[in-house]
Amino acid sequence: MTREQRLATVGFSGPTAVAVREKLGQGLALAALGGFRGLAANVLMLQAHGAWERQQWIRVRSNLELATLLQPRVALFWDLASWHLAWNAAVAAEQYGGEENETRRRIEARRWVEAGRELLERGTRAVPEKAVLFQRLGDLYWQRLGDYRAAADCYREALAKGDAPAYLERFVGYALERAGDPAGALEYFRELRRSMGSSPDPARRPDLVDREIEKLERQTTGSSGDRRR
């Protein structure tokens, strides 16, 4: 396979990007072709789990990429794969004792985070109707890349799907605030509070939204007061 063919087939072109048939092995390939894709994908998940316990990150990535290839419509696989890459593998790279240079460790960690991000973005295209992967992408932008505005956009996208958890509504505002846009966050929280109506569902925690509005009003009023002085 050429590099371009690998990229087109399996979505990445690293050293583990050999043909699916070669990576799957005969047994799993037969299972996949015989209509037992779910089983083959689960076996790969189990293998990835074992590789995670042994901290074999390339193998973790390879097995999980294969699992998503076999069953691209299972959000769980994309979610788990991104968690292993962007969190576990990245942290392991940051803390790797075999590399003394901190910059090199951080670059390697960043590569793993980007791999997780790229994989999650593919996942959102494969399972576009569910909120979970958009939420996870938002978490990745927030926790691993520090891009709070992108996180807010992802959370909005997740909320638009209709099956996002109720607390995610507030996270859009929190993300905007962390992105250095308290005015935008305030406007968002006010809009959110208005949408709850006069008898809000307690699960949507109107009390927390009110608290955020008060806090942001003090913050924005206080800062404009400072500027006038």
Partner: protein, 281 residues
């Protein structure tokens, strides 16, 4: 018509009883039950993962057992009767050949139906047991309990079960079709398995080829069209994977696949009856 139906039923009942007496089906059923019950050893994963493993393993066990039952059952249907010469005794009665084929098929799918019902019941119990186990582990948190119950009691699992049954009935139809041509059980098993694999591959291969943008000559196109028409497209049953993944699958899509299965079986049995009519015994 009523007389025809009576004769078909008699052949079906006889086929069913003969099959039930054979130990191989009891062994297969036992194997399936043990595997279904043993699908409980993924306790270190999240409950979503555990349910996915359980459902995939459960459906795969049911599919594989059903496939083996269909292959072994159908392989012995007509070739074995020809070898033992018992078919001559049956056909010298006022029994038409197409009634014989239809009765054999009905007997086989009855056996399969009973086995599917047993395996389905065991699978249901395993799911409920897993549900109770996980609720015990997760404690009293309402959201978690609700999510676990939603996984265990998902009504769409019935859709998946219906799709598996339909797929296996198509495989039985294929096996009965080949058994009207064959003189040996090996031939029936081998041909049915080959068509089963081609049925899974053909749509994937067709998509790959279409996406590549290559232009084929008319002969190749005609060949591929022939394969697409004659070989059943087993990737249609991939709706089962969608259901296990927790994705929404409308009953309309399931009913379309069931209708396709029924139509395919009808064509197979008609072809089998026609071939058997002309066969020298």
């Amino acid at each position: 018509m009523r007389e025809s139906w009576r004769r078909i039923r008699a052949v079906a009942a006889n086929t069913f009883l003969e099959a039930v007496r054979q130990k191989v089906f009891a062994v297969l059923l036992l194997f399936a039950v043990v595997l279904l019950g043993g699908a409980n050893y993924f306790a270190e994963f999240s409950f979503q993962e555990q349910f996915k493993f359980l459902k995939d393993l459960g459906y795969a066990t049911i599919s594989l057992t059903g496939l083996l039952v269909g292959l072994l059952g159908a392989a012995q249907l007509i070739p074995a009767e020809i070898e033992r010469r018992t078919i001559l005794t049956a056909l010298c009665r006022p029994l038409r050949r197409w009634e014989f084929v239809a009765g054999k098929y009905l007997g086989l799918v009855s056996l399969l139906g009973v086995m599917l019902a047993i395996m389905g019941t065991v699978f249901w119990f395993v799911l409920r047991w897993k549900e109770a186990q996980l609720i015990g582990v997760e404690g009293g948190e309402a959201a978690a309990v609700q999510a676990i119950q939603a996984e265990a009691r998902d009504p769409r699992l019935w859709q998946a079960f219906a799709l598996i049954a339909a797929k296996l009935f198509v495989v039985c139809g294929l096996a009965v079709f080949f058994s009207t041509l064959a003189t040996s059980t090996t031939f029936v098993v081998a041909m049915t398995l080959m068509v089963y694999l081609i049925g899974h591959l053909q749509s994937v291969a067709r998509e790959q080829w279409l996406e590549s943008g290559e232009k084929a000559n008319w002969l190749l196109q005609a060949f591929l069209a022939g394969v697409a028409l004659t070989v059943p497209d087993f990737t249609l049953y991939a709706l089962i994977d969608e259901i296990v993944a927790g994705n929404v699958v409308r009953w309309r899509s399931t009913l379309e696949v069931l209708a396709y299965s029924a139509a395919y079986v009808g064509v197979l049995l008609a072809a089998a009856a026609w071939l058997f009519e002309a066969r020298d015994l």
